[in-house]
Structure formats: structure tokens, C-alpha cells
């Protein structure tokens, strides 16, 4: 069974058609890279998959279950986690609290208004484990406001990982990072076990290509090329999109 199956997905804003009949089929454990120039509709596609946007037509299936109509807030409970291109964290809190919120989101405890969350060791321990996976457990109690940009990227990933997703959507995880930071993030991603399916949007090919074995190239909301790394790189249409021949 496929991890994620998308068929005939369309979305337009006003007159602008941002997603045109997109079909995708992603196998469990796959590392899929979604490429495309600015405005190709990559982030819109992500938002459709996570349910933050509703498609005009088409269906989305997660491990065979049709989730097209499932509200976005319920999708994490079905094993889907994402990161944002624009870092979206809880800036007034500590790193560990950010991860704790990720854990709490999937726990029925989130409705509990009387116990002390900070004293709840389960969340703290699990949170530390997730932070360890991105190499941040040593600064878990640091306020987010005192972290570097690269560390925040890793917090984003730790939060997603903490939710033990079956499928992980990464929206430009390398955006705005320096070369060293990029290497750190790359290491984190490589360490994610194969039972997690990963779909990634990235412009930065140097790192992303190394990581992904399957690539989908979007242009004007349409899938132009799809295939293995070598196939897509060799395809003349890729060259046209990127070098304008």
C-alpha cells in the first residue's frame, strides 16, 4: 500500500490555477523531493496535503485511507507531521516546551486543565529524546529567543519527529541556513529511520539531491517530470525550467 496517494488534485485562487491535476504516489519509506521554481505551487501542494487548504477537486489518501475531507487538525493523529518554510515556533518558550507542545498535541492530556504540565515527566523525557535526535538536548531548557536560526530549524524537525509520524513533510528545511548549519540539519534528516516516509520541498539542490531518491518537478502547478534522481536531472525539461533553454 502507498504511504500517500494523490490523484487529480486541483486548486485555484480566484482565477489563478496554482495546482493542476497533480497526481503523486509515494511509497512507504520513500524519500521524495519536490522541486520547482518560485511560484510552481509546491507550498500550496503541501498545504493541500496537510489540509490547511481544501482542494477544489481530487483526492488524497494516507495509507489507503481517504483523508481529503479530514480536518487538518486531525491529520497529525493519523501519522502526518510537517515543518514550515517560515519558521513557526513558540518564541517566548523554551526549546523543550516547544517539543512538549508537539507531544501534547497527540495526547488526550491536552484537554486537562488542572495538572502541572511542567512536572509531567513523560512529556519532558520523550521531548528530550526527540531533541537528542536533532542534537539539541543539551540546550533543551534554553529559551527559543536565545537560539540561532539553525537551531530553530532543528527544533522544527524535532517537533515533527516527536510526533512519531508515519509520513513527514518538510518545507524547505535548509532555507536560510549557513553551510555548517545545513550540514547539521542534513545529518538529522539522514538519521531518520526508514519507517518514516519523507516528502521534502527544497530549492537547495546540493543537499537535497543527495538525500532524495525520487524527485517530482513542478512547474506552474503541474507535474512536469517525475522519476529517479538521475532521470530527472538528465531530463531536458528540467534543464529548460532551470536554465531556460
Amino acid at each position: 500500500m502507498s504511504a500517500l496517494t494523490i490523484s487529480g488534485l486541483n486548486k485555484s485562487f480566484g482565477g489563478l490555477h496554482v495546482t493542476r491535476s497533480v497526481d503523486l504516489d509515494i511509497q512507504p519509506g520513500e524519500r521524495r523531493l519536490i522541486l520547482g521554481p518560485n511560484g510552481a505551487g509546491k507550498t500550496t501542494l503541501f498545504n493541500l496535503i496537510t489540509g490547511e487548504l481544501t482542494p477544489d477537486t481530487g483526492t488524497i489518501k494516507l495509507f489507503g485511507q481517504d483523508i481529503t475531507k479530514v480536518p487538518s487538525r486531525d491529520r497529525p493523529h493519523l501519522g502526518m507531521a510537517r515543518t514550515y518554510q517560515i519558521i513557526t515556533l513558540f518564541g517566548k518558550d523554551t526549546i523543550i516546551h516547544n517539543v512538549r507542545l508537539a507531544l501534547l498535541g497527540l495526547s488526550p492530556m491536552r484537554w486537562n486543565p488542572w495538572t502541572n504540565l511542567r512536572r509531567d515527566d513523560r512529556f519532558t523525557e520523550t521531548g528530550h529524546k526527540a531533541l537528542a535526535r536533532v542534537g539539541l538536548s543539551h540546550i533543551a531548557d534554553r529559551p527559543l529567543s536565545q537560539t540561532s536560526y539553525g537551531e530553530r530549524r532543528r527544533v522544527e524537525i524535532a517537533m515533527a519527529l516527536a510526533q512519531e509520524p508515519k509520513i513527514l513533510l518538510l518545507d524547505e528545511p535548509f532555507a536560510g541556513l549557513s553551510i555548517d548549519e545545513r550540514r547539521d540539519v542534513h545529518k538529522c534528516l539522514m538519521a531518520i529511520p526508514r519507517d518514516v516516509t519523507i516528502v521534502m520541498i527544497e530549492h537547495n539542490m546540493d543537499v537535497a539531491l543527495e538525500f532524495a531518491e525520487h524527485i517530482t518537478l513542478l512547474h506552474f502547478g503541474e507535474v512536469i517530470v517525475e522519476g529517479s534522481r538521475a532521470e530527472v536531472v538528465a531530463d531536458p525539461r528540467t534543464r529548460e525550467v532551470y536554465l531556460g533553454h
Binding site: T50, E52, S72, R73, D74, R75, P76, H77, R82, Y84, Q85, I86, I87, T88, L89, F90, G91, K92, D93, T94, H97, R100, L101, A102, L104, G105, L106, S107, M109, R110, W111, N112, P113, W114, T115, N116, L117, R118, D120, P143, L144, S145, Q146, Y149, R152, M159, Q163, E172, A175, G176
Partner: protein
Amino acid sequence: MSEIFSADNRLRFIALAIALAVLVSLPFWVSGIYYINVGSQILFFAVFALGLNILVGYAGLVSLGHAGLFGISAYATAYMLQHGFGHTSAIMMALVVGVASMALFAVLSLRSSGIGFIMITLALGQILWGLAYRWISVTDGDNGIPVRGRPAPFGYSLTDPVHFYYASLIVFIVAVAMVFIFVRSPFGAALMGTRDQPRRMNALGYHVWMIRFYACLFSGLLTAVSAILFVYYTNFISPQTLSLTASAEVLLMVISGGPGTLLGPIVGATLVVVIKTVVSGFIERWNFLLGAIFVAIVILMPEGIVPGSARLWRLVTRKRTAAPPAPAATTERTP
């Protein structure tokens, strides 16, 4: 961050004990029932401000219609008593009416946030004010509804100002404890998450609307409780209690003290009540003063008195041992 006191636990405990001792012993060292009554007013307005702070401070939803909710509970109490019901049923009814109205408010206003939320709550507050003002057959309009007598729980008549003070103090302590526990709870953390990053919270699996809705109910409960104390205190309710100015005043309490802190609304309520009652006796232009304080706080100390003074205190005591923290930006853009 929701840590209210950043000092160590022992210091915190001592401060708490002193505060409690001062509050409990107030009637013994304050001369004259006038100041005891001012104390009662501070206490129940603090409960009101704590209730609004749930929305403004912890949920990031600014309501300019809370005086309407406050008023509807007060009217419910007065109406029940006027129609011959006992204190218990009047209080129960006021709580139910207050929370139910808040639920209705929430359903209508939670469709938006930010300025939209402000405007919808303002409109709702004005509607309730309009009903109180003109629906003469129920509210008797400008005449208001008098409330005769105060309850006497366990045979302890609250007609005595000192007794009433202690009743208010108990309610106040319970309310503070509830908010204190709430803020540290998982649900409290979730609520603050929806304040800071609603979109992210949704993506993490939280039902943002429902979390806000429950927070509204909690706010409505505290508002109703404070309204009941208010109506028994003044023994009277009239439409002015529901006016936009009244909504603005309680918002001022929250904002001036420090939204999103436990102590802030209490400090704010003290400030506003003291200016309105005590200072107004000495400074004729107290309304001007109140407005000026409002403007000054927003411009100069936008985080409120409590966090603002805490920041200054830290600056003085720690003398920059650590590097200045980076701006607490939560959302960054990449090109």
C-alpha cells in the same frame, strides 16, 4: 513564558505568605469601612480582570464587550431576586446565564481573531447594553433594578462590610488559584500555544477553535462570579454597568497590569479602582489621569506594569550578566 515569578521558590512562598497575611488582616489595620469597601471592590474587579485576562492574555483574543457579559450576569441575579427567588437560585441562574451568554458570544466571535474579534465583541456588548438600556419591561431601563439584602452563607451575613470583604477575599483566592493551576496545566499550555501560533497548533493536532471556546467559558465563569459580587456589593444594577466605557475600563486593568500574567490583572484592578474611588476624591481630573496612564503604558511599557517592572528589576539587580536576549521573533521570513 508562563512562569509568574522568576525568583526562586522560597522567595515566592514568602511573598505569597506576606500578601495573604496583608489581605486577611486588612480589616484590622485599615480604619473605616470605606477603605474595606474599596478593598472589596478591588477584589471582585480583580476577579473580573482575571477572567478577561484568560482571553486577552492567554488566548490573545481582545474583547471589548466583557462589560456586557458582566452586566447580563448582574441583571440575572437582580432579576431573580426581584421576582422572589432566593439567593442560591439567583446566583446559580447568574452563573448559568453568564456562561451561556459567553458561549453564544464565543460562537459568534470566534469566527475571527484580531481586530475582527474586537469588533464583534464590541457589537455584542453594545447589543446587550442596548437591551439593558431600552428593554424597559425587563430591565426597567435607566431606573435599574435594586437588589435588596445580601446572602448570609452559613448564617454569616454579608451585609456587614467586613464580612463581605472576607467573602470577596475567598472568592478572589479561589479564582487566583484556579487561574494559577489553569495556566500551568496542559490545557493552559495549549491555549497559550493557540495565542502564539494558531496555525502551528492546528498542524500539531490541536482543535484551536475548541480550545478557544473552552477558554471563553472559563473567562465567562469568572466574569459571572465577579458580577454576582458586584451586584451584591452595590445592591443595584443599571445599564451604565454594561457600557463601552466599562468594557474599556476592565481592559485597561488587564493591559496596564500586564496581560498574560497572574499578577498583572490584580495590580491593574487595584490601580483602576484606587484611581476611580480614592484618588477621584482628591484629584478632580482623575478621568484624565486614567486616560493618560492608559496611553503612557501602551506607549512606554507595552507589556504592562508587572512584567515591565520585573524587567527593570532584573536590569538593576543582574547588571547584564548574560548577553541581551535576541528579539523574541517567532516567525522569520526567508527570501
